[in-house]
Assembly symmetry: C2
Homo-oligomer: 253 residues x 2
């Protein structure tokens, strides 16, 4: 016999289902004083102001003038709240690529959009990711990325791999630059002096005979000039897109 529906699949936490607009409010009982979006917005506000480490259930509750345990009527756990924070933290996807952009321009725009979000909200990088995206806006980003590759001859699986490659790069690059900013704030050193100081430290530690290549890099003053971090981002992005281009050309034969 065939099953009636395929709903027996993986179960979604209630708060996530409501993010997809699936849950209707039960008619009984007192009217709720808050809502999932209210809570998530408050949590995002806390993270924006004081970083992800400041986001505790009690702190979010204080932000709302409520008691800590009241939140658990709306979200099942802190992890669930974090997942929802990521969804609203990323915000709406950048939209489909402009009609006459080729895939490369489209993906560049897409990557820069994520880049900008992560520069605005570095705490997104500290949220431990526990699985593939299942929230509406996250999947919206995916959709818009896939559309950039619509006109190409890549296989569907390859399109997916390319997006994974790109988003991984963007996150990685953002992590590195945000570490510099955070380290600078923690130690009181000027952001522009952060990498040079690191260079001097490493130069003091290493033996040039055992680390010749590293010593040469330091000698070239690589860490001394403070490049525009956006140039660094563009460099890696272009390397990856060059690699994708090589693949597309090969597939197009």
């Amino acid at each position: 016999m065939a099953a009636k529906t395929d709903d027996s699949g993986p179960v979604l936490p209630p708060a996530i289902e409501s993010a997809w607009g699936l849950r209707e409010r039960p008619p009984k009982g007192p009217r709720p004083g808050m809502s999932v979006p209210t809570i998530v917005d408050a949590a995002v506000r806390v993270a924006d102001a004081d970083g992800l480490a400041a986001v505790s259930m009690s702190r979010v509750a204080k932000e709302l003038g409520a008691a800590t345990m009241a939140l658990y009527r709306y979200v099942g756990s802190k992890d669930e709240l974090l997942m929802l924070m990521v969804d609203t933290g990323y915000g709406p996807s950048p939209g489909p690529p402009p009609p006459h952009d080729d895939w490369r321009a489209g993906l560049t725009r897409w990557a820069w959009a994520e880049h900008d979000v992560l520069r605005q909200r570095p705490w997104l990088l500290h949220v431990p990711i526990s699985g593939p995206p299942i929230t509406p806006q996250q999947l919206g980003w995916m959709e818009d990325g896939l559309r950039c590759l619509d006109g190409t001859t890549l296989a569907e699986g390859e399109k997916m791999s390319v997006l994974l490659l790109l988003t991984g790069y963007v996150r990685n690059e953002a992590t590195l630059t945000s570490q510099i900013a955070e380290g600078s704030r923690a130690t009181g050193v000027e952001p522009s002096e952060m990498m040079p100081a690191y260079g001097r430290l490493v130069a003091r530690l290493i033996d040039p005979a055992r680390f010749p290549a590293l010593h040469r890099v330091l000698g070239a003053g690589v860490l001394n000039q403070d490049d525009d971090p956006d140039d660094e981002f563009t460099f890696g992005l272009d390397r990856i897109l060059d690699g994708v281009e090589a693949l597309i050309r090969r597939r197009a034969g």
Copy 2:
């Protein structure tokens, strides 16, 4: 006047300095019952067995038959212990590239070496990275990576960028596959059924009219076939190295 030494630079935690063999043991007082490497090894053992979340100061102390607070005579904080765990967790670098390998073969070997380490010790991915590498073995990895690019015409800064790009990719890919493994362990689902289950879930959630590209990808069964994750890794790696190759060719002009 010139300063006597340049030691006035950034201060290194004592435990890290001892990892570089800089600290000598003071002559007075009772003989230490443990040592920094003993503690770090115990912590790595705990992480190997039960994951990074199980690594608490008290758990590590129990592993050594000592009291929790005894550890603080050797490491300044848990964060310091984590940094040392990363150093010994990665282990010694894969060594300089074989003499007749070109840069591409060398970097491929280098990337696979990190890949293998991260497959063996997925907890390394969960350690919050707080700055650029300053421990001996970490810098050893960097050195070996740089040597792979020795024969090329890339600028020193470009070599560094390429390594950053690569290691970021390796870590990202490892994160994704380890998430599947962890999710499978947490939910009891077969690892090979993890992605198909995810595909069915997304298919149930999205409206094909609003997510046409995503719907097409799912329809193509991209998530259904369980590819060898090593193939996926190779795919992205080759894309990146293709991009690097394009750059090297342009620089060689």
